[in-house]
Symmetry: C2
Subunit: 232 residues, 2 copies
């Protein structure tokens, strides 16, 4: 039984790496150097260097040329950061009325500076939210998350009725556009049509005023995660 011996503070970049690796590992396989580099907009060579340092600190295990996996410590650290990030996002939108599309960037900076105490105070003020404004689940204080495997809107079939559960949060422009379309976590969609050859997906947006028909390209649809609610 290893007692948890004070999680010592990590640097901002380290926290960013751990989050990225956590995310990449979610799909199953270990995170590749290139994928990490892409996600952090950093050269692959720099990733190699940093991964060595992370491994030295016992946060990841690295099989050269094979990829990187979080250790127990690494995973715990990643989840702590993720919790901070997502609670900050909630607080910014709900209490400070921050615009949907700018919340991510602000939280991205604050998550490295905000203390556990601050974040827990925010969580308490919000009544311990369980998901952030983009539908991502918030890890609990003791590091549990239930990352449900969701399909994307791009994979839904015509005739299906779905509920939007989550959307990607990185790109403000896409978020603004989705908001314009009325597509947000929690809203209901009916898939009307799916054009061949990766063509646009036509959906009926239940929750728009009076309902509305919208066409969404596959690229965007792939960033919208849905859960089936039955056939038409």
């Amino acid at each position: 039984m290893t007692a948890s011996p004070e999680p010592q503070p990590l640097t901002g970049p380290v926290e960013d790496y751990l989050k990225a690796i956590y995310d990449l590992e979610l799909v199953g396989s270990p995170a590749s150097t290139n994928d990490i580099a892409d996600r952090l907009a950093i050269s692959p060579a720099s990733v190699s260097g940093m991964v060595r340092r992370l491994a030295d600190q016992g946060l990841v295990s690295h099989e050269p040329y094979r990829g990187v996996r979080l250790t127990g410590d690494g995973r715990r650290a990643a989840l702590r950061t993720l919790r901070r990030h997502r609670i900050l996002e909630c607080y910014l939108t709900e209490v400070l009325d921050y615009p949907w599309d700018r919340v991510h960037a602000e939280a991205e900076r604050l998550e490295h500076a905000a203390s556990e105490e601050l974040v827990e105070r925010m969580a308490a003020a919000l009544g311990d939210p369980v998901q952030d404004p983009h539908g991502a689940p918030i890890p609990t204080r003791d590091g549990r998350v239930e990352e449900s495997a969701l399909r994307t809107l791009a994979e839904a079939a015509p005739g299906e009725q779905v509920r939007v559960r989550r959307v990607h949060d990185k790109e403000p422009a896409r978020l603004r556009y989705l908001a314009e379309l009325g597509i947000r976590p929690g809203c209901h969609l009916r898939i009307l049509d799916k054009a061949p050859f990766d063509g646009p997906i036509t959906v009926w947006v239940e929750d728009a005023v009076g309902g509305a028909t919208r066409a969404v390209g596959v690229g965007l649809a792939a960033q919208v995660y849905v859960e089936s609610e039955g056939q038409a």
Copy 2:
């Protein structure tokens, strides 16, 4: 007329130096290397190095062996950081009910990460406060402050009645103790006695429940700024 050309983001350490120099300059003379080093808990040699960099960036002017002064740009940057810091302190105490003595440390970290937008939203939520929880004035958006020259409690004479305007905020333990004594910005004191040879100052604390007599050492009294309200 130099148009203000986007204040580019400064690093955390740079902001800390500028704040320190601003503070030291308040007493009139240019900031000395040693004083800056003391305040930031850094070696004097490191300060020399950093000051060169600050001068290169046009934020300070440095006369070797003579001290450092903020330039216009440097002063503006310092005041922006100070505004962020103090609004954060207000927000943390008033909205998130943060304990008086821990607010400073948290704000110290957040001030480097919080965007202008966030801080202004907080300020708006508070109705644009003009001073922080320790009584320090908050610079306006356009960089104005009125730093009133105050006497300290250590300088007050027996018989005087004073109002506490401001207390130093760096040391949590001292703040907690002052709070215990009932001494906070806004409270009223009557100086009952001042023991010789830097002995303790005995005060009547008006605002304590039913009023209370307290003795304060000079060291602590020197960190409490007061404004006279008349003689007994």
